[in-house]
């Protein structure tokens, strides 16, 4: 594994930090302890020396001082851990306590020099057997003359032993503490990262295409809980848009497959045997019709997908809407000729709105073309344009096959066509009204349908007037 998992890294970081803290902590304890013990030893040496000097003073510093007298007067001096020595002014031993036994502990040069100057000296020494001692040498002066040097010594063995034990305890306890805390850290990191693993697995399944997955971590408001809920929201939105895209492409391929089926079927049928020229002409005409339908579907699909991406450029400027209505009415007269559907104008008010002329013309032409397509023969399509409050109200009404109430909500959906419209002779693409709706909405307007089956349909477009926009 080139990159250790977060869990491993967390644990290692945690362990390293803890080890450093422990080492610092143990070191501090050791040195503080060592220092305290040393100070304690030195204090007891000083105490013993001053007691000894007091006793010596009572005896006038005579050479007849004996240890027994000292210990008699000062029972604490009898403690076995200390020994006393008194040196003459030349540095030679004159008297020493019994517990020193036969050990040779001469006065060091440094202590002697310091004593000559009247200073006391602390020394740590180690003798042949390796037993460490702490020594205090105090000069005893009489009228500025060095009379003798008192030395008190104590074995450092108990102190060293204690420090050794402390060190041992720290050396054993620290690794155990580190191991235990590493295990704890590993466990805690695992616990903390568990929801992350859950999210990872869910994301993996989603990547495999299963959009029904949701993260089922407890609904908490902590970091992981928030991540999970944001993640779930994201999946839900992905699921919706994926379903829409899938539906859209399924619909698109279905819509394209029908004209393909027809051109393929007609062409194959024509080629099965030799036919009259007239038959071939009919097949070619039919094929042309279907090819036109396919290219219309492709154009409209392209328009809608560009509209979705916000790539359609709109040039908004003041538009004389009533003029567009009149122009479209003239075009509509031609469109309706075959089926004797006449397009007439109802009340038309001079209205100016801010909009894109090309798109508004397309909107109106789509609505009128639709109206004519689904009109009964020899009926009228009526266009009206009036001001309704702060809005322009554009209406296109026909007397045709109509739309049932439950289908009215869906006719603006892409590729939706009513059952009757689907079987209708003049084929729409199922995208016209979706495009109309888009055009109305970019003009901040609304489009509504009102219809009765077999009676007719009215589309009402409301567009805001310029004054109401500002």
């Amino acid at each position: 594994m080139s990159q250790a998992s977060i869990r491993v890294r967390l644990t290692l970081w945690y362990g390293t930090a803890l080890a450093l803290i422990l080492i610092l902590f143990a070191g501090t304890i050791y040195f503080v302890m060592a220092r305290a013990l040393r100070d304690q030893v030195d204090a007891s040496l000083e105490e013993a020396s001053s007691a000894a000097i007091r006793t010596l003073g009572e005896h006038r510093f005579g050479p007849f001082l004996i240890f027994e007298d000292l210990s008699q007067n000062f029972p604490e001096l009898a403690l076995l851990d200390k020994f006393f020595q008194i040196f003459g002014p030349a540095g030679q031993v004159t008297i020493q306590s019994a517990n020193i036994q036969s050990r040779e502990i001469p006065l060091s040069q440094t202590a002697f020099q310091a004593s000559l100057k009247g200073n006391a000296t602390f020394e740590s020494v180690r003798f042949d057997k390796g037993v460490p001692f702490r020594l205090l040498s105090v000069p005893i002066m009489h009228t500025d003359r060095l009379v003798s040097i008192l030395r008190v010594g104590i074995s450092l063995y108990p102190t060293d032993k204690m420090l050794q034990r402390l060190l041992l305890a720290l050396l054993i306890a620290s690794p155990i503490a580190i191991i235990v805390s590493l295990l704890g850290g590993w466990f805690l990191a695992g616990r903390a990262l568990k929801p992350v693993n859950v999210i990872t697995h869910a994301a993996q399944r989603i990547a495999d295409g299963d959009f029904t997955q949701r993260i089922t971590s407890p609904r908490s408001s902590d970091e992981i809980g928030r991540l999970a809920s944001v993640f779930n929201d994201m999946i839900a939105r992905l699921e919706t848009s994926f379903r829409q895209i899938r539906q859209f492409s399924a619909d698109a391929s279905h819509e394209l497959r029908t004209p393909l089926t027809i051109t393929k079927g007609e062409t194959e049928l024509a080629l099965r045997r030799p036919r009259q020229a007239e038959d071939y002409r009919q097949v070619l005409e039919s094929n042309l019709e279907e090819i036109d339908r396919m290219s219309r579907i492709v154009d409209e699909l392209l328009f809608l997908s560009r509209a979705d991406l916000g790539e359609i450029k709109m040039t908004m400027m003041p538009i004389q809407l009533d003029e567009i209505v009149r122009e479209v009415q003239l075009q509509a007269m031609v469109l309706g000729q075959d089926r004797e559907v006449e397009t007439v104008l109802g009340p038309i008010s001079p209205i100016v709105i801010d909009g894109d002329e090309l798109r508004l013309r397309e909107l109106l032409l789509n609505l009128v073309d639709n109206a004519i397509k689904y009109s009964h023969s020899r009926t009228q399509v009526e266009i009206s344009l009036v001001q309704a409050g702060l809005q322009a109200e554009l209406k296109v009404c026909d007397h045709g096959i109509g739309v049932s109430e439950q289908e009215q909500q869906r006719i603006f959906d892409r590729f939706y066509r009513t059952d009757i419209a689907r079987g209708h002779a003049s084929k729409g693409t199922g995208l016209g009204l979706a495009i109309c709706k888009w055009i109305v909405e970019v003009h901040q307007g609304t489009i509504q349908v009102e219809s009765f089956p077999d009676k007719g349909t009215c589309f009402t477009v409301l567009l805001p007037l310029p004054s109401s926009l500002s």
């Binding site: 079927g265 194959e268 059952d419 079987g423």
Partner: protein
């Protein structure tokens, strides 16, 4: 052989009808599920070609209702969606075969023949009565060594007679299986076509294969 085409897209229905008619089948077309269900239950069709996306009653529902009502007519489903589950649902609902749009005309015709063959019980599909042989694939008819040229309707009539050889076929039965809904039952067209067939098949032969059953209709004899 009479076929019902239930398809709401007029141009698709139109070329299917023409292709089948060229193969001398009688074809009826209807554009919604309700009509399709009514017709399928009232006429003894030999085959139904059914689109799945239909207004009023969806194709799958139509098929289920037909099977529930005990109608055993073979059904080929047409679906614009090539998705497997649509086909599986269709076959499970009782369809005998399926075609996905866009399909090849020849494939539609081959599947039609195959279903008739399955219904008729002849593995090769070639129909034979005595020395009269009819090949539905090549649409060739011969008696002995001699090839016989037939018009579309004559061929359709002969195929129906041969498929039901030995059975007495009444005029209404012949009407139902050889002619479509536009046929005017008050004419004697059947008798006219039978006499055309007899002229081409039986004239000058020792054995007459097409026999008149007085008061009932006609029979293709097998006991000669």
């Amino acid at each position: 052989m009479r076929i019902l085409v239930v398809e709401d897209e007029p141009k698709v229905a139109s070329f299917i009808r023409r292709a089948l008619e060229e193969e001398s089948y009688a074809v009826d077309v209807c554009a919604d599920g309700q009509k399709g269900l009514d017709w399928a239950q009232s006429v003894d069709y030999d085959l139904i070609i059914l689109d799945l996306m239909l207004p009023v009653i969806p194709g799958l529902e139509l098929l289920k209702q037909l099977r529930r009502n005990g109608v055993k007519i073979p059904v080929v489903i047409l679906t614009a969606r090539s998705e497997v589950d649509q086909r599986v649902k269709g076959l499970d609902a009782g369809a005998d075969d399926y075609l996905t749009k866009p399909f090849a005309i020849e494939e539609l015709l081959a599947r039609t023949r195959s279903l008739f063959r399955r219904a008729g019980g002849t593995p090769s599909g070639i129909l034979q009565v005595d020395d009269l042989v009819l090949n539905p694939v090549t649409r060739e008819v011969s008696r002995g060594e001699q090839r016989i040229e037939l018009t579309t309707k004559e061929y359709a009539l002969l195929e129906y007679l041969m498929r039901n050889a030995g059975r007495v076929l009444t005029r209404p039965m012949i009407t139902e299986h050889v002619w479509d809904l536009d046929f005017d039952t008050f004419t004697n067209v059947i008798d006219v076509y039978i006499s055309y067939l007899r002229n081409k098949i039986d004239r000058g032969r020792e054995q007459s294969l097409i026999q008149t059953v007085r008061g009932s209709g006609y029979v293709m004899r097998t006991d000669v």
